[in-house]
Amino acid sequence: MPTPVSTARQCLTPEAAHALDEAVRVAKKRRHSQTTSLHAVSALLSHPSSVLRDACSRARNNAYSPRLQFKALDLCLGVSLDRVPSSAAAAAGGDDGDEASPPVSNSLMAAIKRSQANQRRQPENFHLYHHHNQVSSQQMNNQSTSTSSSISCIKVDLRNLIMSILDDPVVSRVFSDAGFRSPDIKLAVFRPLTVLPPFHFRPPPPAAAYSDPGPGRRGFSFPFPGFSGFFSGGGSENFRRIGEVLGKSKGRNPLLLGVCACDTLASFIELLEKKIRDKNDNSSGGILPPELSGLAVIRLETEISQFLNRNSDKEAVDSRFEEVGRSLDRNSGPGLVLNFGDLKPFVKVDEEEGADGRVSYIVEKLTSSLSRDNSKLWLIGAAASYETYSKFVARFPSVVKEWDLQLLPITTSSSMAAESSYPKSSLMESFIPFGGFFPTPADFKVPLGSSPYHYMATLSHPCDGQEIVAVSKGASSVPSVVDQYQSGQRSWLQTAEIGTAKDGMFMKTRDDGEVLRCRAVSLQEKHDSMCHSLHQHQSPPGSDIHPTRFSTILGFQLAEDTQREVSENDYSCCTTAYSRPMADTYSKPYSSSAAIDSHQMVRSESASCRIPLSPAEASNNWRITPKHCEKPFNEDSGGALRFPQSLLSNSSMCYGSKASPDSLTTDLGLHLSSPPAATGEPINLKDLCRDLSERVGWQDDDAIFTICQTISEFRARDGKPEGGRLRGKNIWFSFLGPDWHRKRKVATAVAEMIYGSKESLVYANLNPQDGNNGSMLRGKTVVDYVAGELCKRPISVVLLENVDKADVQVQSSLSRAIQRGRFSDSHGREVPINNAIIITTLTVKDDSTKRDLSTYCEDKVLKAKGWPLLISIEKKQLGRELSLSVTSDGSSSSSSVFLNKRKRADDNASTRKCLDLNLLPDQENDDLLDKEGENLDSDDFVCDDHSSRAWLQGFFGQVDRVVMFKPFDFNALATRISNEMNKCFHKFVTPECDLEIDQRFMEQLLAAEYLSDKKRTVEDWIAQVLGRKFEEVSRKHGELGCDYIVKLAALEERSDLEELNPRGCLPPQVIIN
């Protein structure tokens, strides 16, 4: 049974009652039958300086711009108010004859009762509020001053009322929809901005040591309450600090240090003198501690510097010091400050002609006068640079102690600061704190109903002209907004227009903001309940520009915050919120012939958005209806995903948010998979093996077999969770061992075979030192990059190289991913990786090959560059050491011997066993991890190698399969190549002549062969390029006898002669020397 308004009013303080009246007015205007908490909130918010609005502005989430959040709040509130049933009976209602006021609803009345009870329970709290209110009314002109007179009265005051209203679930939902957290707002209501005692003078107790400010000393006490502004700028702050030092008991003689120190010292002394002259001047009240007021000054700086520069003699100085003594005796005030000025003369003279006693004389004099009356005499001085000071200290080491000096860094010149840094207008401070510095009319349009200019005027009213200019400049496009009012567009289009035209920057705010904005926009659109009028406005070609521009401000990125905000009860609302912007975002920019398309799309989507979602889905998923995702996805990933449309039309795509582990959505991504391989059909193992080894170009060995076996096993298992792990059908590999290139090749091949294209390989190098990642990581962390790519291509092969170098972020993300099947980025957004194959690689360096200089190892080959190649003909010299020569009888040199047989045997053994770290680690695994450890130790980049190593161990324990790669047999390849070359050479040259191949040359060819995708690259090159050159050689030089040797070398040293061949290691030309 609703309560009559008059009854409710009795329980309220006048102020709160006023708020209630406002609420009733809102309800009446909307023809609602009852006045609810929502109305109250609406009324409370409508006032620009209300307690609630102020609290909101302080409690708001800093991630969003305040303007957007308030706008969202207003819109959410509007939507909720629209849902309140209006009744015709309300017009007749009002049984108490209260001018047909809609009676107070039960929920609002309950809120009032709650706050009443609350207040009764905690009278001391109430007392506190009361006090705060008074304070804030003095300092902030806060309109919410409670005028309630006595504590015993249990009339509910406004603050308590607000607290209870915020408890109302309907209200808290509105706030959380808009991105506010009710507890935060409550806290902010409880704690008004300024809770200072009215007059809290700043000067600290003199005992407080300068070096220990202590937490209690500094609050937001405004040091100079009535400060006139004369000593504004950096000066006052510097002076205050000098004063602090003077007021201390120890280290009380300030020595100002800094470029501006001398200026500051001069102005400080001036200030003190001025204060002595006119005693009534209170302006230094905040500068000197009270007990020091009336401090007198004696300037000695000119005398001292004259004396030190030999412009005066001892007598002048002596007399001056005597004077000091006399005035010290006379002095009745707190004491004297002796200014000895700049330290520079002390040091300079010292430099010039050693110590002729003048400097030490002055220092002695000063010391003695200080010791005469320690409590009443202060020294003050300055030094422009630390160097001066340190020289001085080096000269007189005991002085710092004797003089009791306290160094005071001065970093701001007082004069400069005074002239320029004071704000032009103190009225700037009268700006409404947040709530929109640059007001946007449309923002507050719905509940406030104020016109843009009206709002602007209220803002700039208290400011001077300059600021009005500033404000209107900031809002320079307001007129254009008004123009659009007249053009009769739907209001949501206008909002978009405002966003683009004016708030260039807000539109570029971070994704969260954008999402918030889409919500806001679509909510407003919903609020107008004008779904089909939207269609009308999209069809005329002239208005095409609006949706297009609109789309630019809507990010596709999904902020999980926003998702959380979606309240469970709000299904229809949230669907519109998301799907509407989606349609616009993707239809317009991506399709050129989109007018009709998008038209239909919007239509179909608006139909589909009414599909009720189950609560779990609504809270955990972001649904994209099929039509929307086909375009963006195809466009975005450059054709990476070729989904059959038929599949898509039946499937729905969902991005998991921070879903709880029992989320229903874990497996939904699976339905997206298009190629048959991904759909869970068992793959023929043999076919797979053959295919893979063909693609990779090496004979099938154990590594390839293991990989294929694992893939087919996992595919056959059809994604059933294994061993309780909550992950989908993803497969985790670790490729260990050397042979970096083949690992990558295998990954590419797997991507091609399983997912149909090379594009479905997501590649990242986790070693930040390697430049391989190039531009793709700009401004992103590796995690974000990978997550982003996975978003675009959810089914793909992810290749993460150098997993041992992974940073903490990647480590934790990977650990989570392997356990839960979701890869999270640095914002906590998660991407399902149900159907992905994740390959991590780790290069265990093969130390044995490194030691042997004559063999070819991966490191060296990979370092090979495309130097120009050279053929030279030399006379044979006996006794020369040849790096690699091929004799004419074709017996290849013993290069195969170079291969470390033990090593190979080891590797073979371990591979055959299909290293699976899920099993008990055996000897080899230990070896392996030891090697990793060595690597990590040797690398100073990973600083906490222990934790990294532990993580790596744990990670490998969880990986589905560890595959060991053999080192690539470069020596065999080298033999093959040299044989080939030899054959080619002797086609043209007599067998007596020897061919010598420089190691660099060979490395270059090896690299070419190793890195090339085709087979026989080098053979072809030898036949075509080198063959021709050999022919040329034989033509030019005729018959080359056995005393000649033909050398093939890389021109490494002469790189300045020719550019490096950019095309790779096989140059199209070979130079003949």
Binding site: L193, T194, S211, P215, R217, S390, A417, S421, E429, V808
Partner: protein
Amino acid sequence: MVTGNRLLEVLNVRRLGSGDRVLVFAHGVGTDQSAWQRILPFFTQSYTVILYDLVCAGSVNPDYFDFHRYTTLDPYVDDLLSILDAHRVDRCAYVGHSVSAMIGLLASIRRPELFSKLILIGASPRFLNDKDYHGGYEQSEIEEVFTAMEANYEAWVQGFAPLAVGADVPAAVREFTRTLFNMRPDITLFVSRTVFNSDFRGILGLVKVPCCIIQTSKDMSVPPSVVDYLKTHLGGRTTVEILRTEGHLPHLSAPGLLAQVLRRALAR
């Protein structure tokens, strides 16, 4: 203590992570603590991280910005030390960007025992040129900037942000634009004047705490000579790290890179 707690609240002080060692991140003018967001995950596991906003930041209620008080950098130092005291920090490593680097220097002069290491990102003791010193700006240029700022803050922000970020990273520009625009224009102007009026050259020798200067290869605000100047004049053991990226805000434009260098610098 009451005021200390209020300060923590006003300046949005956050304490994250767990670890024996305390690490303080302080942002520069034009950003707020959110600028460190991408850096944090690298440190929260092994450090207790303390974050706060400078009083001039857009995320702090501008009413707390006292134009009479924050006329030099010393009150900022007071704030910092109060925060550390309130959190009962007795030793910490400090990472400061731009103006906060200077604040850190001042704080370490006052309380050397409190800081185990200062990491200065994009720091400059003096922005204006002088006889033997190249700070990068002439007084007249600065005045022009201030005039532009006063005339149309938004336009200035739009123009300044890409320059400051330097590297071609739109996300970083967006983020910096956002935080810069969040500041009230008069406060930005005031703080900028304070910063440009500051001159730390004379006092660098007083800093005895080991410092690590992190500098990008190209920074519009800090010419390379400044880094040399800092290195020669700072009183403690000083190392220099040059990041292979550009811009004044490496924590926005190259967070991964910076985090690695930070870790390395902190480990030393």
